[in-house]
Amino acid sequence: MLTSILRLGLLLGVALLPLTVWAQAAPALKSVSVDLPAGVQMFPGGTAADPINNNCLACHSADMVLNQPALSKAAWEAVVKKMINVYKAPIAEADVPPIVAYLATTKGSAGE
């Protein structure tokens, strides 16, 4: 149940002194400004990584892709297709096979 501070204060009176502070002082919200890191890491592997570096860094950094478990080639193909069809990644048809091949090699599972 949500605790209405006012009601609690009335019910319990001074027993909840720390909470009455809540009831009085509305937190004054202060404007916020932060710097977020760009995540400039590239996919390793030289020229074999060119297609993935050219196509897979626009929306998210490489680290999470590199943290993925070993997946089958079919699973990697599904991931790449999802990026294109659902998230509208602008990836040329010709770049799909080398990207899938890169992922299946570096993050691939044999026998699936």
Binding site: P27, V32, S61, A70
Partner: protein, 351 residues
């Protein structure tokens, strides 16, 4: 924090944080964003929350007006749908979280109901959709939005928080406003909330209809490769519990009493009991529960156990909620790696 992804940020709470207190400090609270276009600067005076759609009076509320509404406070666990995905077998794609994509905070804010009542929901409204300031990186891609049924949105518990643990929300946790949906997975806890739309039709946007859906089966469980399963939007959380002071591989003196402690939560119901086993689940003993911070909060627990025989042992902990739901002995599986809540096991030795 454990860095799962730099941009947009996926930050995991290191597990030892949960051993220190029942509330998770704001600067150690896990962070999860979908799209990388996130405002890095928000001016309090300029921010507006708009309420539109099937309402009598569309609203554009300043933060000052929102903070001036009747205030409510609630302790609640925010847990990612995919918390613990890194342990799902067979492995699945997605953020490879350990168990730290969750946190417990005291949220302060206003009732969503009060804001909806102020706008006056029209007859025929079926859902309420929530959108934040974050945006897709490319045009035409699906903006991240989530919806709740109208009765849920008006239940008086769902709230719009402007503070967590007594401080304004950190930007990465959704400054200045975050939806709090007690007992439900945090995919619904929309951050930087600035747009509330009352809908006359069920929301069919991608993040409701396709993403964040689960098999409509017990524990959202299916066998890998199973097809033709009805999928529904993920919703309420299930009970979970963890040992926080003993790690896998720890060693104890045989025959001497040892303290085990940790946290539990009941999902959408409170914690009724926490049971502990020092023999791999053959026998269970009730743990002592800590202070009750409310039914949606973490609840601390502790108990003493003794390992009589030298050798390997399995410690287990199991939460049962006040609806009578207990954690299962077998791990669930689904393609997205959602809703893991199997009984946790910690392997230890007695020497």
């Amino acid at each position: 924090m454990i860095l799962q992804r730099t941009r947009p940020p996926l930050l995991e709470t290191p597990f030892e944080v949960f051993d220190r207190s029942v509330f998770t400090p704001n600067d150690q609270f896990y962070v999860r964003w979908h799209w990388a276009v996130i405002p890095t600067s928000i001016e309090v005076a300029k921010f507006r929350l708009i309420v539109h759609g099937q309402v009598e009076t569309p609203l554009s509320l300043s933060l000052e007006e929102i903070v001036g509404l009747p205030r409510v406070e609630l302790a609640a666990v925010s847990q990612c749908s995919g918390n613990s995905r890194g342990y799902v077998l067979p492995r699945v794609a997605g953020a490879q979280w350990s168990n730290g994509a969750m946190g417990n905070a005291k949220w302060t804010g206003v009732r969503l109901k009060d804001i909806l009542d102020r706008a006056g929901v029209k007859a025929g409204a079926v859902q309420v959709r929530f959108n934040g300031l974050d945006e897709p990186v490319v045009e035409g891609a699906p903006d991240f939005m989530k919806s709740l049924d109208i009765d849920h949105a008006r239940d008086g518990e769902v709230m719009i928080a402007y503070a967590m643990n007594g401080q304004q929300l950190p930007l990465l946790n959704g400054f200045p406003l975050r939806l709090v949906v007690p007992g439900w997975y945090s995919t619904y806890w929309v951050k930087m909330l600035n747009d509330i739309e009352v809908l006359a039709q069920p929301d069919s946007n991608y993040w409701m209809k396709t993403a964040y859906t689960i098999p409509d089966t017990p524990y959202a469980n299916v066998t890998p490769g199973q097809t033709g399963v009805k999928m529904v939007p993920i919703n309420r959380m299930e009970p979970r519990s963890f040992i926080t002071n003993i790690q896998n591989g720890a060693s104890f003196a045989a025959g001497s009493p040892t303290l085990a402690r940790g946290i539990a939560f009941g999902g959408d119901y409170g914690v009724a009991k926490v049971d502990f086993s020092a023999d791999g689940g053959k026998s269970w003993q009730p743990a002592q529960l800590g202070q009750d911070e409310g039914k949606y909060s973490f609840r601390q627990w502790e108990t003493y156990f003794t390992l009589a025989a030298k050798g390997n042992h399995s410690l287990m902990v199991r939460c049962t909620n006040s609806k009578g739901e207990a954690q299962p002995g077998n791990a669930n599986w689904n393609p997205a790696g959602f809703m893991r809540n199997v009984i946790e096991t910690t392997a230890v030795t007695a020497a």
